[in-house]
Assembly symmetry: C2
Homo-oligomer: 356 residues x 2
Amino acid sequence: MTLVWELETPALLVDLDALDHNAGLMAQRSTDAGIAWRPHVKACKSPAMAQRLIAAGAVGVTCAKSAEALAMAHGGVSDILIANEVVGADKIERLIEVAKLATLCVAVDDADNVREIAAAADAAGVQIDLLVDIDVNLHRCGVDPEVAPALCALIADLPAVRLRGLMGYEGHVMGLPDEEKERETAASAAIIARAADLCRADGHEFDVLSGGGSGNYRYVLEQGVLTELQAGGAALMDLTYEAMGVDGHRRALSLLCQVVSATHPDRAAGDAGWKATGRHTGMPLVAQPLGWECVGLSAEHTHLARNGGESLSIGDRVELVPHYSDSTVLLHRTLHAHRDGVVEDAWAISGSGALQ
Amino acid sequence: MTLVWELETPALLVDLDALDHNAGLMAQRSTDAGIAWRPHVKACKSPAMAQRLIAAGAVGVTCAKSAEALAMAHGGVSDILIANEVVGADKIERLIEVAKLATLCVAVDDADNVREIAAAADAAGVQIDLLVDIDVNLHRCGVDPEVAPALCALIADLPAVRLRGLMGYEGHVMGLPDEEKERETAASAAIIARAADLCRADGHEFDVLSGGGSGNYRYVLEQGVLTELQAGGAALMDLTYEAMGVDGHRRALSLLCQVVSATHPDRAAGDAGWKATGRHTGMPLVAQPLGWECVGLSAEHTHLARNGGESLSIGDRVELVPHYSDSTVLLHRTLHAHRDGVVEDAWAISGSGALQ
């Protein structure tokens, strides 16, 4: 029996009770709304964790990139959406590898790209499903609704690709205040719905309207316009999602570090800096020991300040809650799955680092 | 012959001419000042690049952590300083592995830690050199000068460890305006010098006084108090070091991405978001094509806006200059070394990710 406190630091931990609670909650809320839950695994990057979300009720996973999808396929995930455009011969070759292992759906917003994917799939004898990506005012990728029917017609004319539906990612709404978030989530869904009407009016048939992030998923479910929900990050939960108002979830991710310097009773340096916590939305929170806070991050050091707690000694363990799981997990190779501090499994973070 | 423009994106590039210029400049400036240059490799994390700095005149390398040092030792680097405290049995065991392969020196600020390192080194039949870490007002690690003589005395009493000298890292001065930076660099050096006087007055002999970062290295060299310079990041150079006033260096690091969506003539989405560029000091700069700028970073997307350039198409390559190399390189696995756009080598970033 290994206790998390015995792991070499820094060690990334996932609390199985909290994870199962969060996954069950998202699955139940989706079921109650009659919407399929296809959680994004960009945050966890772990096939083992993805399998756990599927066991909780997810219909498959959503990925960001071709290499992430391949890691999931190699990890046994059988139904994969890449909710981004995949461009270039090397990456399309990777799509073929994924499509040989799993049901694969990919977002598209360009005719030449659709032709290239179809030609590669046809040559390899695989099928790749496509979602036409609609720009729902994020202004990053995706076409305007008026352009969607032409892409649907192109897909219908090509072998080895099949139109599954439309998607749009409303990334610009996640940080808005509640009332605006509700309104802008509805506005995004209305843009997808309008694109769907235009495509169906042209005779195209499909069943998927996909979107939604952890920051706005309650509104996506309440509004009921979309048929698939991509939100997945809140399965791990973190301080950034808390700041976005995500409710009912528990903090499942934490980062264990240890004190490496304690030459003054009111401060200590931990061995997790921003190269282990990630950084750009804020400071981690000290979960244990009580009475200490993180007041700064160097590259390799947690700057800990005493705030009523007992003084620390070198070697003492400190458990941090990362501010944004998405920026933390990709720095690590292993997610230590534990229950009440007892390690039950070590999950490979197969998609860590900058992927292709 | 492979051109950088043919690499799969995102691809991290180092321009050998610029790197050699920067390394030669830092080595020459150090030689002129009579100070040994021991560049920190926390930014590059690549033994092959470390070897190139040594070929340019560096006396060895400075590392942040035990796993980084082991990667360097496995890569053939024979003289290594870990400029941080190394705490815990698992990490001290790693020190022993390094000490079997290379001359190793480690920072210490705690008596129990010194005893543990000495006991492990003695049991393994290796020698580990030590630098007593002085708090030069960064208030992160290190002891006050008055405490240093007792640590020197302890080291003198123990087998298998040897006092090499003192160090202090003045991380708090790097972002200061020039005049303050010069003054605070002098103040830090004075604290180390005072600690050295106290230790020598007690009969302890040593030859190394180590410190300095890329942000203040010109002042360290001008002031001539320290005997070894740890600055290494500016060998890669980046926008953060430019903002710190580092002069005479060229930008050696860049990140190649490609356009994955271009549905509007005035904007495009590249496939390098903050999971490939890193993020917390600022936005990357678009080096090529001219007339475009990066106006935002999503997790996996560069938000590119046209500013006088030609419209982009999907598949077009875009070269970015990361804002802070230190937060970029650890996300990648390979540094593609090129000259004038022709790839000459692929250097493994052996220390990528969150290390132990």
